[in-house]
C-alpha cells in the first residue's frame, strides 16, 4: 500500500530501518537485556544510541518546526514506530515521544527541548507498573482524555516478562505537566499500534522464510496447507492492522470527530495481530522456536508488553462500543484524494 505514501514519508521508514539495523541488531538487544537482568544497567538502552536517535529528530518528529520539532504528523510517526517495533528497539521510545507532545503543548518548552535532544527520557504508567522509568525521572500517565507527566517516586524493579523492558512497581508523585486533548490518547494508541504492526509483520516474514526453507517429508513445510494457511492468516492480520493504523493516522492528522474511534480500532486490530502472529510464529518454527537462542520468543514477549500499554483492549473497548454506529461521513481529506480520479475507464 506504499502507493498512498509520499517518497518523503517512505524515507522515514527506510532511514529508521537502516539505523536500527546498525544500532540495535538482535545481538545487541540480547546484550542489553542480559545486562539489565544481571543488574548491571538501570537503563533499557545505552545513552549513545539514544542520543543518536535524538539527532535524527525522532523525539520531535510530530512537534511543529516552530516549536523546535521536525514538523511531521501522525503518519510519519506511525512509519517510524513500525520500524521500532519490527526491530524490537529497547527503550522508552513511545512514552518519550508522548512526553514531548505533553511538554510542548503545555508550554514546558525547556522540558520538551530536553526530550528532543535526548538528554531526558520518560517512562509509561501501565496500571500498577512503571515501564522503562528511571530513578528521579518522569513518566507519562493517561487518565481518560487527560495525559499527565509525573515525577517518579521510589523505583522498585520487578522481573519483566520481556527482559528488554524495565518494569517497576508504580510509585508516581507530583504532576509536572498536563494536557487535556481528546485526540492525544488516540495519537498515542497509534504509536503502540504501529509497534505491534511492526512485530506482526516481522514474524510473518520470519515464518514465511522458514516455511520456504525448512523441509520435512522431502518438501518445504510451506507446501503443507496447515502451515500455508497459518501464514495466510498472519498476512491477513498484518494487512488489516496496517490498513487500520494508517487510516486512523489520517483521521488523527485531520482531527476528525471519528479519530478516537478509529485509533481504538487500530489498537485492537494491531494488538490481535501482534499477539496471534507471535504465537503462530513459534508454532511454525516447531521446537527451535521454543528455544532461547531463537528470536521468536523475543517477539512474543514484546507483543505481550505492548498488549497492555495504554490499557489495551479494556480501554479501547468502550470507545469502540460507545457510538451508535460506524461513521462514514468524515472522510479525511488525504483519504478522499485516493479516489479523486475522474472516470477514465
Amino acid at each position: 500500500m506504499n502507493f498512498v505514501l509520499s517518497s518523503e514519508q517512505l524515507e522515514v521508514s527506510t532511514v529508521a530501518a537502516k539505523v536500527l539495523g546498525q544500532l540495535v541488531p538482535f545481538a545487541r538487544l540480547r546484550e542489553l537485556a542480559d545486562a539489565a537482568e544481571a543488574g548491571e544497567s538501570a537503563l533499557a538502552i545505552d545513552e549513545e544510541t539514544w542520543r543518536h536517535c535524538a539527532e535524527l529528530g525522532w523525539f520531535g518528529l510530530g512537534i511543529p518546526a516552530s516549536r523546535g520539532g521536525v514538523g511531521c504528523g501522525p503518519i510519519e510517526e506511525v512509519l517510524l514506530f513500525v520500524e521500532l517495533g519490527r526491530h524490537l528497539a529497547p527503550g522508552p521510545f513511545a512514552s518519550t515521544v508522548i512526553a514531548t507532545w505533553v511538554a510542548s503543548a503545555s508550554g514546558h518548552h525547556d522540558l520538551a527541548a530536553q526530550f528532543m535532544d535526548g538528554s531526558r527520557r520518560a517512562g509509561l504508567v501501565v496500571d500498577e507498573f512503571l515501564v522503562d522509568a528511571e530513578p528521579g525521572g518522569l513518566v507519562v500517565q493517561f487518565e481518560g482524555m487527560s495525559c499527565a507527566l509525573c515525577e517518579v517516586g521510589a523505583l522498585e524493579q520487578v522481573p519483566s516478562v520481556d527482559a528488554s523492558v524495565r518494569l517497576a512497581r508504580r510509585d508516581v508523585r507530583a504532576v509536572v505537566a498536563r494536557v487535556d486533548d481528546p485526540l492525544l490518547a488516540g495519537r498515542a494508541q497509534l504509536l503502540i499500534s504501529a509497534m505491534e504492526l511492526g512485530i506482526a509483520h516481522a514474524v510473518l516474514d520470519m515464518s514465511v522464510e522458514y516455511a520456504k526453507f525448512r523441509t520435512q517429508f522431502d518438501k518445504p513445510i510451506g507446501t503443507f496447507q496447515a502451515v500455508k494457511h497459518r501464514c495466510a492468516d498472519m498476512a491477513m492480520r498484518v494487512h488489516a492492522a496496517r490498513a487500520q493504523t494508517l487510516f486512523a493516522g489520517y483521521h488523527v492528522e485531520s482531527r476528525t470527530p471519528d479519530a478516537p474511534f478509529q485509533a481504538a480500532a487500530a489498537k485492537v486490530t494491531a494488538t490481535r495481530a501482534a499477539k496471534l502472529n507471535t504465537a503462530d510464529n513459534v508454532q511454525n518454527h516447531g521446537a527451535i522456536g521454543f528455544t532461547v537462542e531463537h528470536d521468536a520468543g523475543l517477539f512474543a514477549r514484546r507483543a505481550h508488553i505492548l498488549e497492555f500499554a495504554l490499557g489495551g483492549e479494556r480501554v479501547a473497548g468502550p470507545t469502540l462500543l460507545e457510538p451508535d454506529r460506524h461513521r462514514f461521513e468524515t472522510l479525511p481529506p488525504p483519504v478522499a484524494e485516493w479516489f479523486d480520479v475522474a472516470a477514465t475507464r
Partner: protein
C-alpha cells in the same frame, strides 16, 4: 471533484442523503420472485432517472462520469440510510458484468449492454461454477464448439444466483479442450432466453430460493458475444474476480458494518455490555469492521491508481468472510435461546455460512494468499 475540496463533498453527501430520504421505497424487496425483479427494476430506474446510477461509469454509456470518490460517498449514504444491500437480481449486472464489460468489452458490446443495466432493464447472472469445478474453476468442462459465426454450448453450470430472473449471463465455456486448462476458456455473453437453456432452482439452508443449476443443450450463441478474444476467457474472468473481491463488494462490506452496529445496539438494549466476554467480542468485531473498511478503501485506491491488483485483494475478501462468521455466531450468543425463533438474526446466522464459500472458498483463497502474496511453494 478535483480541486474543489471538502465543502463540495459535504454538499454532495447532503444531496444524496436528502434524495434517499425522499425516495426511499419504504418496503423491503420481495424475496427471489418475479415481483423482486419488478421491485428492483423500478428502484434502479428511479436512481437512474435522478442521476444516481453508474456514478463513476463513463458518460457515453449513460453513467455520471464522476470519480470513484463520489461513488463511495453514494455507497456510504445508501448503506447508512438503512436500505437493503446485497439481495437484488441487479447485483451481478451492476457490480460485476458492467465493470467487466467496461474493462474488456468491445465498444459495440458496451453500447449495447451498459445503458440497459444502469436503467434497471436487464438483470444478469453469472455462469462460472460447475458441479466438477468449484475451487478449481479452470477445470470447467462446459463445451462450446464453433459452428460458422456461432458457438454451440453443451454442459452444466451451478450455484447461479438469480438465474431465474436474469436476461443475460456471464458464461465461461471451454473452446479448446486440447490447450492447457487456463488457455482454452472463453467468456461469452449468453442471452438467457436462448432455446436449450433449462434453469432448475436449488434451495439453500437459509431458506433462500435464488440459487439455480443450469443445463445447456445445443445452445447457440453468436461469436460476436465473446468478450475479448476466444480462449482469452480466463484472463477476462480474472479481471472480473479481482473486481468481485474488491470495489464491487464495497456496499455489501459497508452493510456488514451496519449489521455489526445493529448487533451492538441489540446487546445494549439487552444490557449485555456488562458481560465482559460479549463486550470484548463486540468491540473486536467493531474494530475489525473499521479495519475491513480501511482495507477495502486502500484496495480500491490501489486499483484506481493503476497498480496491478495485488493478491492481498483476496485477503480483504477472506477477512470479510471470517468477520461475517464471527458476527453470525455473536448474534446467536447475544440472543441466547431467543434465536430459536426464525428471525432476522437467526436468518443472518444461517446465511453467513456462505461467506466462507461464495466467490471461492476461504480455503482456496488462503492458498492464493500463501502462494501469490507470500511466495510459498505450491
Amino acid at each position: 471533484m478535483s480541486g474543489e475540496g471538502q465543502t463540495d463533498l459535504r454538499v454532495f453527501r447532503e444531496e444524496i442523503r436528502t434524495w434517499l430520504e425522499e425516495n426511499n421505497p419504504g418496503t423491503p424487496p420481495p424475496l427471489d420472485t418475479v415481483e423482486m425483479r419488478e421491485w428492483s427494476s423500478e428502484w434502479q430506474r428511479r436512481q437512474f432517472d435522478s442521476g444516481w446510477a453508474g456514478i463513476d461509469w463513463p458518460v457515453e454509456y449513460e453513467g455520471r462520469g464522476l470519480s470513484f470518490l463520489e461513488q463511495i460517498v453514494w455507497f456510504e449514504e445508501y448503506v447508512q440510510s438503512g436500505l437493503p444491500v446485497g439481495h437484488s437480481c441487479f447485483v451481478v449486472a451492476l457490480a460485476h458484468a458492467g465493470p467487466t464489460l467496461i474493462a474488456r468489452g468491445s465498444d459495440e458490446q458496451k453500447a449495447t449492454y451498459l445503458p440497459p443495466i444502469l436503467r434497471g432493464e436487464t438483470p444478469w447472472c453469472q455462469g462460472f461454477s460447475e458441479p466438477g469445478s468449484g475451487s478449481d474453476l479452470a477445470s470447467l468442462t462446459t463445451r462450446a464448439e464453433i459452428d460458422g459465426d456461432m458457438l454451440v454450448v453443451n454442459g452444466q453450470k451451478v450455484w447461479t444466483s438469480y438465474a431465474h430472473l436474469a436476461d443475460f449471463q456471464e458464461l465461461l465455456v471451454r473452446t479448446d479442450p486440447a490447450a492447457p486448462k487456463h488457455k482454452g476458456i472463453t467468456w461469452v455473453i449468453c442471452d438467457m432466453r436462448t432455446p436449450g437453456i433449462d434453469v432448475r432452482p436449488i434451495r439453500t439452508i437459509d431458506g433462500g430460493a435464488h440459487f439455480s443449476e443450469i443445463f445447456y443443450e445445443d445452445v447457440r450463441i453468436p461469436i460476436a458475444n465473446v468478450v475479448d478474444e476466444i480462449n482469452q476467457g480466463w484472463s477476462v474472468a480474472m479481471s472480473t474476480l479481482a473486481i468481485e473481491r474488491g470495489p464491487a463488494a464495497l456496499d455489501y462490506q459497508l452493510g456488514t458494518l451496519r449489521d455489526i452496529d445493529a448487533l451492538v445496539e441489540l446487546a445494549k438494549q439487552r444490557q449485555l455490555l456488562k458481560n465482559d466476554e460479549l463486550a470484548a467480542r463486540l468491540s473486536a468485531v467493531r474494530a475489525e469492521g473499521a479495519a475491513l473498511r480501511s482495507m477495502t478503501y486502500l484496495s480500491v485506491a490501489e486499483a484506481k491508481s493503476g497498480a496491478a491488483p495485488s493478491a492481498m485483494t483476496t485477503a480483504v475478501r477472506t477477512f470479510w468472510g471470517e468477520l461475517q462468521h464471527k458476527v453470525g455466531r455473536l448474534a446467536i450468543d447475544v440472543l441466547g435461546s431467543d434465536s430459536l425463533e426464525l428471525g432476522t438474526w437467526s436468518a443472518y446466522w444461517l446465511t453467513q455460512f456462505s461467506a466462507g464459500i461464495a466467490g471461492g472458498t476461504k480455503d482456496i483463497q488462503k492458498n492464493i494468499i500463501g502462494e501469490r502474496a507470500l511466495g510459498l511453494p505450491r
